[in-house]
Symmetry: C2
Subunit: 216 residues, 2 copies
Amino acid sequence: MAQVKVVENILKANDQIAFQNRLALDKHKTVAVNLMASPGAGKTSLVMRTIEALRGRVRVGAVDGDTASQIDADRIATTGIPVIQINTGGGCRLDANMLQSALPQLALDEIDLLLIENVGNLVCPAGLQLGERASVVISSIPEGDDKPYKYPNIFVKVDVVVINKIDLLPYLDFDLDAFKALVKGLNPTVRIFELSCKTGEGIAAWADWLVEMCAL
Amino acid sequence: MAQVKVVENILKANDQIAFQNRLALDKHKTVAVNLMASPGAGKTSLVMRTIEALRGRVRVGAVDGDTASQIDADRIATTGIPVIQINTGGGCRLDANMLQSALPQLALDEIDLLLIENVGNLVCPAGLQLGERASVVISSIPEGDDKPYKYPNIFVKVDVVVINKIDLLPYLDFDLDAFKALVKGLNPTVRIFELSCKTGEGIAAWADWLVEMCAL
């Protein structure tokens, strides 16, 4: 019983800090998006494609979470946008406190859209608020169409599902309609984008949606 | 400081239960293998291929861990082998206690090899003993060749790395030599198998190694 209480308190503390982060972001009219996915689903590739697609339309910044290394942040930095690396030291997700430490290092007045790349994981980050306006799970074709059955929590809680690597559909047994029906069953109001970070197909619709959200 | 102490105690308790599990398994000459991977890397597919390849050679049983659902266990059960489902209720890994609860439900005297499919995750299960003789991480080609950089803990601690979905190499930018060099750099004694659960390529060598381990 005591154990559960501690966890609840931690989660409550997280939500309070997430709320403070949201206020800080709103003050600067910065929209934060929390990108979650399995390892290798294409979080960094989507960040790279998004930066390219939004150049001249909205000013993008990034926060990159990893258990170790900064190769993703280095890759993002080649685009010239401001990027902060958070290493969790083995932790399986970002939390609101980590984002709070990163925010003062960013010139939020010069950032319209903050892309937060969470640690690669479909379990730990599910439902944990950071202060974002929208949460996104990226699911990729090679992972298989059964992921919403097996990791329902994350699919229930996100605002958007991005289906990445659609260029691989011809080579894999992935039932796109069944996948989408399953996602909608868990989360009827979710928005779904189908795209390929490799070919660029579908990126425009995703980018337009982000621009629209920044204009709200 | 108190927080760290609690975690250490929990891990110590886990290792004690893992040791008890190992004794129980050894008593019945059952070899347990802990299979870890990202969601969608092919854990269940490898279990299915392994059961098929070992039929008539060693008697296989399975324990299947998921946060929710039992579709993997149902799929494994179609082969006729004994299988136990463990649902972690959202938890991001199996622990020794969960395996301890499952073992009495299996006729270990009739099982030479127990395949334990962990929850899909590259962070949480890393290094957590369950009572297995060997630990395995399955990495799949579509996840990219940079995973050992980003999730080093799991690659450092396993006995075996299985590279799955090699049939997709022609369609993806994955540097197999660089990946293997990186893994060997982190873990010089690790054994690497390259295979495809889709085509069956490489399964024989993996199956032979399991048979060898059961004969030890």
